[in-house]
């Protein structure tokens, strides 16, 4: 097993999942805000927005899942247990994978929290 080079590593992968959460959050909020302000009126139905949020949620969870899975694979790289604190490229890779995995889990929970909201509101009030 060859050492993973720094060139193949990226700090950006760490923040993919939280960025997806941010996208999910912003799109949900903006869709609802624009729909209520420009189209539905203050008493209008939220039906299309709830569908949109359902679609955003599905997409976001798939993206987060993929990123989290890639994190998990790197975390399991070579089957060394935590705490990934050796001065080796392998442990660096495992650590970044582990952090990616955890951030993906947090992002997924946050996305689900956001999606729950759509279940409770039927109109723009």
């Amino acid at each position: 097993m060859s050492s993973p080079s720094e060139k193949n590593e990226s700090l950006w992968l760490l923040i993919v999942s939280p960025t997806i959460w941010a996208g999910h959050f912003m799109f949900s909020y903006i869709t609802a805000a624009i729909w209520c302000a420009k189209f539905a009126g203050s008493d209008g139905s939220l039906r299309p927005v709830r569908w949109a949020i359902a679609v955003y949620t599905a997409l976001a969870l798939v993206g987060i899942g993929l990123n989290g899975w890639s994190g998990l694979r790197r975390h399991r790289f070579g089957s060394e247990p935590l705490p990934h604190d050796s001065d080796t490229p392998e442990d660096r890779r495992r650590f970044l994978g582990f952090a990616t995995l955890l951030l993906s889990a947090l992002s997924a929970v946050s996305v689900v929290f956001g999606a729950i909201v759509a279940l409770f509101f039927k109109d723009c009030r």
Partner: protein, 322 residues
């Protein structure tokens, strides 16, 4: 625990302005939510404190790496996630009800906030509107919808005993629906910092039986009572001579100022200066003489230069406006 806390609170939480002494459906729901959350928070805090204490004073060997990991996953991640999810669902389930509009035909009251008082307009059952100020009376057991607006700065309309608050934002219209459940006298305040006299921008809220309310509203929508008492008649002259009518309206007279609060029935109000001074004998005189002392920043000028007899006459007139 909830019962215990509520019982304790009967002593300490009562008050005309207390969110924990609810007199409305919304305030009740929220107080209930609060007691649940406060109890839960207390339990969690004690649990965390005990865990910390135990971990530094433990009798057994140090926690292993595996145990520590399970501890973090269980206590730090899973437990909060589940508790918060439950709480979120509870809160969200409550929201649509709190935000729902009042049913068709409910009482609607327009409230416009000004620096630093409240212009109140009742929609009359027979059509039309009547303008009052700084006091709101509503019937018990019926939803009432407040249509809120402001023409200067941002204010916020808050009657803690009846329910949550709602901001009054220039250029926007907001609404708040309340459901009073018991009669009584309560106090509302401006909750958004709105300038110099923000602290002195309050109003009285009276929840009444429906029949009582109907006759009160009927009475308030009438023009000002004609007085025959001589000193009140004098006061009426001074009222116009000193230019009070430039800012204040008294329906049934030529006073039609719109800058300040309507005074048609000011004598019947519970307080003066937007909940600042109780309407007792002598209150009008103090208010007219020391307006700026009682309420710093107020836009109404003081009339310290008026001779005492004029002041007494003015008071007699204003008191006669029941």
């Amino acid at each position: 625990m909830l019962v215990g806390a509520s019982a304790l609170c009967l002593v300490g939480c009562a008050g005309q302005q207390s969110a924990l002494d609810p007199a409305g459906r919304d305030a009740e729901r929220i107080a209930h939510l609060f007691w649940w959350m406060a109890s839960g928070a207390a339990i969690i805090w004690i649990a965390v404190a005990c865990l910390t204490f135990y971990s530094i004073r433990r009798p057994t060997a140090a926690m292993s790496a595996r145990q520590a990991r399970l501890f973090i996953i269980g206590g730090g991640a899973l437990m909060p996630t589940l508790v918060l999810a439950g709480l979120l669902i509870y809160g969200l389930a409550l929201l649509p009800e709190l935000l729902a509009p009042a049913p068709e035909g409910s009482l609607r009251i327009k409230v416009a906030a000004e620096q630093w008082w409240w212009r109140v307009r009742y929609r009359l059952p027979e059509g039309g509107e009547t303008e009052l100020a700084n006091e709101i009376r509503i019937p018990v057991g019926e939803p009432v919808e407040f249509e809120l607006e402001s023409h200067d700065v941002i204010h916020s309309f808050w009657i803690p005993a009846l329910g949550g608050k709602m901001d009054m934002i220039p250029g926007r219209k907001t609404r708040l629906v309340l459901h009073p459940t018991r009669t009584g006298v309560f106090r509302g305040v401006c909750a958004e910092y709105c300038g110099v006299a923000h602290a002195l921008m309050a109003f009285d809220v009276v929840v009444m039986e429906t029949e009582e309310f109907t006759s009160w509203l009927n009475q308030q929508s009438q023009p000002a009572a004609e007085t025959t008492e001589p000193s009140a008649l004098h006061g009426r002259e001074f009222f116009f001579a000193n230019g009070c009518s430039a800012c204040h309206a008294i329906r049934g007279t030529t006073a039609d100022g719109i800058v300040g609060p309507d005074l048609t029935h000011v004598g019947s109000r519970m307080s003066l200066g937007a909940g600042t001074v109780p309407n007792e004998p002598g209150a009008f005189i103090r208010w007219i003489q020391q307006t700026d002392k009682i309420k710093p920043g107020v836009h109404m000028p003081h009339f310290r230069m008026l001779p005492p007899e004029e002041l007494h006459a003015l008071e007699a007139y204003l008191e006669s406006l029941k």
